[in-house]
Symmetry: C2
Subunit: 239 residues, 2 copies
């Protein structure tokens, strides 16, 4: 039997170069959207609604009596209640609630993948690495590992996560894709020094300036929130 | 004094994310356009005119009584005289002549960089690695290492060349760019096994099927045609 195909997408800008229809797209936004989504759902959030704009976030939050969250430049956005940190969503706060989260890079790619006809959209990050791998390995569907990047520019943290997935699941797929080769190499090169290596990335500099080092370390720690967020009826829920 | 900035561009599709104006753009198309351009100029070609289309290639070739060259799927294009192999342009053939070369990926990026107002466009590949590095190190200008990619998809061979350049010149630049970090890592990881590593890339499979292994090995061998092709008045000439 022919194996399904796995590709790694390095920027949302390149999405139309890939055949998304009928496949699974894994949205990867390691710092910090997809890490926070995994953490909130793992801790019992009923669902997470990812929205692009602040106004939508406020409106949907009111309508559903939900927790609203979003940051720009490391600060909670005016009019919203919480930030983008996974640490803000422990079980004793988020259990049973709906979280409306405004992000830029990850949300954009998620909606692009839906528009292009992806059969299934899930989110991935180190906190739910094994859950993502288990799902892909048993899916028998084509897969796009979709790095959300930073304003369409390549970033390392999303690529490292793609590489971590490839290292675990490649035997189940045909991987004929230089992006995937590179991502796996980069992951294998740095999997033993992830905490120090991510300190060299541009996003680390950007966020560490806001005192978010602990957050960022959480975001590259595998399997602390091992659930599979899947997009259904406008929200991410646990599969 | 502040150092100039160096970025690595992984696909022409991302060019508008970078500030190109007043900087140097290095067009990188390792398999095989920029390798062939270096070889032809090193062997005495008067100039190389890169054109996108076959019809332009034929028309300019006639007008200038020049050598026309281009391949699709590993075969010389009908109506043209030669292929894209650097081995086709030894000194006893190309010296003193003009070569009109039709390529897809490299030529596209070159014209995009000119349209965006690049102060200078040069071409780079392993055969002229040191010449490129010497030029950039002494330029005191911002630099974009422009990977031509494959139909806008990331490729490894161009990235490895960008990494080889970065490894040599980074002390002269501010490098705050995840693409560059990755490119240098990939180069350092594979510089000792380039010949075997490139056999894993998608482009290798594509071209090796046409019996081009020797060509491809030439294209990743450093400093066999150490000249600096620079774009002036519609053609690449030796600086």
């Amino acid at each position: 039997m022919q194996k399904p195909v796995l590709h790694t997408l390095l920027s949302p800008r390149l999405l139309d170069l890939y055949d998304v229809a009928d496949g699974i797209v894994v949205i990867i936004d390691v710092f910090r959207a997809t890490s926070t989504i995994a953490a909130a759902l793992y801790n019992g959030a009923e669902k997470v609604i990812p929205v692009a704009g602040v106004e939508d976030c406020i409106a949907i939050g009111k309508e559903l009596n939900a927790v609203t969250a979003g940051e720009r430049d490391g600060k909670v956005i005016e009019g919203l209640q919480h930030g983008n940190s996974p640490a803000e969503y422990p079980r004793n706060f988020i259990e049973g609630k709906t979280l409306v989260l405004t992000t830029t890079n990850g949300t954009k790619l998620l909606h692009m993948a839906l528009d292009k006809g992806a059969a299934e959209v899930v989110t991935g990050s180190f906190p739910n690495l094994s859950a993502v791998c288990r799902h892909l390995a048993s899916s028998n569907k084509n897969v796009i590992l979709g790095c959300s990047a930073w304003k369409d520019k390549f970033n390392l943290e999303d690529t490292l996560f793609a590489g971590a997935v490839i290292a675990q699941v490649k035997k189940y797929f045909t991987v004929y894709c230089d992006s995937s080769l590179m991502a796996e190499d980069m992951y294998r090169l740095h999997c033993k020094d992830l905490y120090s290596f991510i300190r060299k990335t541009t996003h680390w500099y950007r966020l560490a300036a806001y005192g978010l080092e602990k957050d960022l370390e959480y975001c590259v720690t595998p399997d602390t929130a091992n659930v599979l967020p899947i997009y259904k009826d406008g929200a991410l829920v646990i599969n």
